[in-house]
Symmetry: C2
Subunit: 119 residues, 2 copies
């Protein structure tokens, strides 16, 4: 599932609505149609220092947050989500990952399930 | 649950082992003893641009990633985890949150559960 921050501002930092993040979210929704990729918009992913942000989530897998996105990155976000769906180890593959999801990586969080038992 | 990145380097960027992140993780473990806060160490939370990192997770709640931490922040991390445990809305309260968990916020991710149904 793709979660796009809807409160992110454009490069000018404008407060105008709709925000750049909302526009990106709309484009991601359109791009994802028919692909099986679910898209949601969320108010603030807390990554305000690195502009347009989105998160990639999959049940039982690592979660990823990306920043430094642009309004042109909708196709790459959807491609990343489709790539994630092919993962067998819970990680987003590096090979084949769109560049904006390499450069823009802000953080990844392990799933609670693999953390429940101390190693 | 607190997840501390064990591969984070110190401010000098040294590759020496143990890494600064591992030392912080050890201190967090010690500090958390007897508090009920679970502590895990993970290899790389992907936040390498903002030094020492940790994540705060709770089942069904938002997940938080923090950066710019120092080796002195173990007590604040445990205090943040205890504060999170009191949350009734799935969010880490702002009031009472240690300063390093305000300044150092890198990202927050909503729980899948609240995203399953489009609003």
């Amino acid at each position: 599932m793709l979660v796009v921050c809807s409160s992110c501002r454009d490069t000018a930092g404008s407060d105008a609505r709709p925000r750049a993040g909302e526009l990106l979210g709309n484009q991601v929704r359109e791009t994802a149609q028919g692909t099986g990729v679910a898209v949601r918009q969320a108010e603030c992913l807390g990554n305000c220092k690195r502009r347009l942000s989105a998160a990639l989530l999959r049940d039982g897998c690592w979660s990823y947050v990306f920043g430094d996105l642009t309004e042109d990155d909708a196709p790459d976000l959807v491609a990343g989500a489709l790539l994630f769906a092919t993962s067998t180890d819970g990680l987003l593959p590096w090979r084949g990952r769109p560049d904006c999801l390499k450069r823009g990586l802000v953080a990844r969080i392990p799933p609670l399930a693999i953390l429940e038992d101390p190693s």
